[in-house]
């Protein structure tokens, strides 16, 4: 029997506000353990939370960018459970009145457009981190991350394949980056996803029983987890088993998911309205102001690249998939006036090196200005493509200005006719046969002579100029 996948995703994104959601501690990643915290985010007796207004602004931005309705009245609730990384033993989140609801994101898979519904976006606080001693002597807690603001973005069960899940996540990540509310670094945990997955025979309308896989922190892991869980559920059903509603942990190293807890064992979070905080009441003018401050979103930017720069749709889609690529591209184009060449460099050499070094677009080590300079060096004939590639690699490695590299290494193309005449004369003297061939009408012989001159100039001679001098000198003979 053929089965259809049904997936809903819950994505947690850390907001890139300067301070935490309920206190003034920094949200900066890393830092020595327990140095980014205070009595409030560590839940000391008697302290009270005060909501960071930026968190509301960023969440509303995310809601508007994903076509959500923004609640004029919403509230915060306590989600109660015991765990050492949660110092108050409750997480302040939103239960029945989230800030944003009923939105959608459009994705494209294999040229087919699809709309994925968003159930809701709500704000909440992050927990700390447990550090397990590798010799099993105990567990330590780092509270630096406690109280870092998060938005949880819950999709409708509209996703039908691993590719759609990937496209949805990529599009969501691009949107969040574009509007500047999250840096979406999966390896630092600022973007995390839980996968709700069920399968059903093709054609059946009712959903199957779903499982939830937690803690997936790379796109690859998500894809593998979806594929793995699909197979597991299919095998289970084909052998007459039943799917149990449960939470499973995906082990990306072993490529299998392991049951964590069943529905019966599920926490009773005893949600109730957080009495230390007042309801969030927003008026139309506030929401309109945020709406008008939204930047151009990936979809619109892609269309503009096709129209304004004449890029192929594929290239435009890739360049706009990351705000970092797109911003980098535009800045380089502005300074070099050669969109096609800049696009080729980014799509080619830049993406290749980033992939090799497992780096993110945000990690590009040199400014867009350098790429623009490189393109200009080629366009002005000062270097050729072979040299340009070498300079590009050097630029990536050393973060040096390409013009400086050219100067330091003395690899600039020689345009000086005086310097080249000597080389041409030397080549002509050394190759009397070719000169004779040329004189007897074999014009092809000039190609060989140009090659010899290039060799003599160690690749630095400008071939056009060499060609011109050669012809002049041959006329004289």
């Amino acid at each position: 029997m053929d089965y259809e996948l049904v997936i809903g995703l819950e994505v947690h994104a850390e907001l890139s506000t300067k301070s935490k959601i309920y206190c003034s501690c920094t949200t900066e990643f890393g830092g020595e353990e327990n140095t980014h915290c205070c009595p409030i985010c560590t839940g000391m007796p008697g302290v009270l939370p005060v909501l960071n207004k930026k968190v509301v602004e960023y969440a509303v931005k995310a809601g508007l960018a994903t076509n959500c309705e923004i609640a004029r009245f919403s509230k915060q609730d306590r989600k109660n459970y015991f765990y050492p990384d949660l110092p108050k033993a409750y997480q302040v989140s939103q239960y029945d009145l989230p800030l944003c609801k009923n939105g959608y994101i459009d994705i494209e898979v294999n040229g087919v457009q699809k709309r994925i519904g968003l159930t809701r976006i709500h704000i909440e606080e992050d927990a700390g981190k447990l550090i397990h001693d590798e010799w099993d002597r105990g567990t330590l807690v780092d509270y630096n991350r406690c109280g870092v603001p998060l938005i949880e973005i819950v999709s409708e069960p509209d996703i039908r394949s691993a590719e759609e899940a990937k496209a949805y996540l990529e599009q969501l990540k691009a949107i969040l980056e574009y509007i500047g509310v999250s840096d979406c670094k999966m390896q630092e945990g600022s973007l995390r996803a839980d996968v709700n997955l069920s399968i059903r025979p093709v054609g059946q309308k009712e959903f199957g029983t779903r499982t939830e896989m937690k803690n997936l922190n790379s796109f690859k892991a998500i894809i593998r987890a979806i594929e793995g869980e699909f197979k597991r559920q299919k095998t289970e059903l084909e052998y007459g088993g039943v799917i149990v509603q449960e939470t499973r942990r995906w082990d990306d190293n072993k490529g299998v998911s392991v049951a964590m807890r069943s529905k019966e064992e599920a926490h009773d979070y005893r949600y109730f309205p957080e009495p230390d905080l007042v309801p969030i009441v927003l008026d139309d003018s506030y929401i309109d102001e945020i709406r008008s401050s939204l930047p151009e979103l990936p979809e619109a930017r892609k269309k503009r690249y096709i129209e304004e720069f004449g890029l192929p749709e594929y290239d435009a889609a890739i360049l706009t998939s990351s705000k970092y690529f797109a911003d980098f591209f535009e800045e380089a184009v502005k300074m070099s006036n050669n969109a096609k060449s800049v696009s080729n460099w980014i799509m080619g050499d830049l993406m290749r090196i980033l992939k090799e070094k497992e780096m993110e677009p945000s990690d590009i080590p040199f400014p867009a200005e350098y790429l623009a300079k490189l393109v200009k060096l080629i366009d002005s004939g000062k270097i050729n493509r072979t040299i340009a590639k070498k300079i590009f690699d050097k630029m990536f490695e050393t973060q040096k200005d390409p013009e400086l590299i050219v100067k330091e290494e003395g690899i600039e193309v020689v345009n000086d006719e005086g310097a080249l005449v000597g080389i041409v004369k030397k080549v002509l003297e050394a190759n009397p046969q070719s000169v004779a061939d040329y004189k007897s009408g074999k014009e092809k012989a000039i190609g060989f002579l140009v090659g010899q001159c290039m060799k003599e100039s160690k690749g630095k001679g400008n071939p056009q100029i060499i060609n011109k001098i050669l012809k002049e000198e041959l006329e004289k003979l």
Partner: protein, 494 residues
């Protein structure tokens, strides 16, 4: 000071009387603090108000204040006045225990906003006061550390949960104290100990640094020897605090402006359900009726009216307060600070053992009650219903205040009872909150002033309930009552 042929000690005086002595250089701040410390030395063993006494710090602070006075610097109206705080109000560097084994060694690295304000007003912190563990109880018998005795009869309870605050003011062990009131915890002990106690409007005093019991009901307030001191302390601690999201951001009046001896034309409503309900001790009832007669003679218009659903206030209160408490007290898990069990097998066991050993019986009872009320499947039947009752109670008061300037009634059904008398009957104990919890549920201010004594010479307190942010009317009526009666001048003899 000489009064009626008897030498009056400094510790017996009110803050405004001491201020006059300081101004006239008839007493120094150090002498005043020393007098209070001596008083503690003499009676504390019998009364047991304090968990911590900060003797050296208090004297140092008093010296510093006196230096300011000597230099001619201006100090606030409460400058140099010795005071004490309920031990659930955080004080930087001074142990704050909540009378619990759980926090028996907790020294906060921060001050509650009220502590900060009182320090800034140059008051002198004498120590931290006993209470029912985490403010849960009405007799101060639920303290992990000690029993506090009523200064009027040492075999009786001082009331609670701010029993230490009321007893210390009644015994002259501090000139004034701060308590907290979640369901009557300032007003009932004020009534039992014959002092003035005010539970201010919810949101008018910052809760930052008050160890939470029930966040939507808790409110800090003063316990003083008279209404004038109450107004002075309110001026010092009231006001918007950006650290507390529930703090009301509005202008607050100068409460001493309300110290006016005049209630002519004031409209006062007395809920029938309060005065004629079952369980109200007849001596308390008579004292309240007498107080009404006093106010009537002074020109107030008093009448009885019906305040509906009074009978649901207690169940609603115990559901809401316990639900919030179950969550507020979850952080005491033995992981970060406070009590940790010595023996445990794993994480779950660490939680279980630490909480079993760290909390007392009443606290555990409330945590279980609240956890149950919030559990899935019961939420609608209990918590949600209680919130609906809360709205109805608020509406009832709104309606009353459309007719009356304030509402008057008894504070507690009885006077102070014997230590141990009710400790094994929590339900009986809970019913003692019948006249006070509605005020918290509706977020209103409630002032208690002494209005008589029963046949055992135990004090009785009159409760005045006002509109939100209308403490001024309560202070005015309380002050007028005080100016025309002598109850507040009597001191307990220990």
């Amino acid at each position: 000071m000489n009064s009626g042929g008897r030498i009056v000690e400094l510790f017996e005086l009110t803050a405004h009387e001491l201020k006059d002595l300081l101004n006239n250089k008839k007493a120094s701040a150090v002498e005043i603090t020393q007098s209070v410390l001596d008083r503690i030395q003499n009676v504390e063993e019998k009364v047991g108000s304090y968990i911590t006494v900060c003797k050296d710090e208090a004297l140092n602070r008093a010296k510093a204040v006196q230096e300011k006075i000597d230099k001619g610097e201006s100090i606030s109206l409460l400058g140099g006045i010795p005071m004490a705080l309920k031990d659930n109000i955080c004080t930087e560097g001074v142990k704050t225990t909540c009378a619990s084994n759980m926090l028996n060694n907790f020294i906060p690295p921060y001050n509650a906003t009220v502590a900060k304000k009182l320090y800034e007003a140059d008051t002198v912190l004498v120590g931290k006061l006993n209470l029912d563990e985490f403010a849960m109880g009405g007799s101060t018998e639920n303290s992990y550390f000690k029993k506090t005795c009523n200064p009027w009869d040492l075999e009786r309870v001082p009331g609670g949960s701010s029993g230490g605050s009321a007893a210390c003011v009644a015994a002259g062990e501090a000139v004034f104290a701060l308590g907290s009131d979640t369901g009557g915890s300032i007003r009932q002990p004020a009534s039992f100990c014959g002092v003035v106690g005010l539970k201010p409007t919810y949101g008018s005093i910052s809760r930052y640094g008050l160890v939470a019991f029930a966040s939507s009901l808790d409110q800090i307030g003063p316990l003083t020897k008279d209404v004038t001191d109450c107004a002075l302390v309110m001026n010092a601690i009231c006001g918007h605090d950006p650290m507390d999201s529930t703090s009301i951001n509005s202008g607050y009046p100068d409460f001493t402006k309300a110290l006016i001896n005049d209630v002519k034309g004031m409209k006062i409503g007395i809920p029938k359900e309060y005065l004629h309900g079952e369980g109200l001790n007849s001596e308390v009832k008579n004292a309240v009726i007498n107080a009404v007669e006093v106010l009537k003679k002074l020109g107030a218009e008093c009448e009885e009216f019906s305040l509906p659903i009074t009978e649901y206030a207690i169940p609603a209160y115990y559901i809401i307060s316990s639900a919030e408490a179950s969550s507020n007290l979850a952080r005491y898990d033995g992981v970060k600070y406070g009590y940790r069990a010595e023996k445990f097998t794993d994480l779950l066991d660490l939680y279980k053992q630490s909480r079993s050993e760290g909390f007392g019986t009443e606290v555990k009872r409330r945590i279980m009650l609240g956890t149950y009320a919030l559990s899935s499947g019961y939420y609608d039947a209990y918590y949600k219903k209680a919130l609906q009752v809360r709205t109805l109670i608020k509406n009832g008061f709104d309606e009353a205040f459309s007719k009356y300037d304030l509402v008057l009634g008894p504070t507690a059904p009885s006077t102070a009872y014997k230590i141990g008398e009710k400790i094994d009957d929590p339900l009986e104990m809970y019913l003692g909150d019948i006249f006070t919890v509605s005020v918290n549920i509706a977020g209103l201010p409630g002032l208690v002033v002494p209005c008589g004594f029963d046949s055992n010479k135990l004090p009785i307190g009159l409760q005045l309930i006002g509109k939100p942010l209308d403490e001024s009317t309560l202070i005015r009526v309380g002050y007028t009552f005080e100016q025309n009666t002598e109850y507040h001048k009597l001191r307990a003899k220990i």
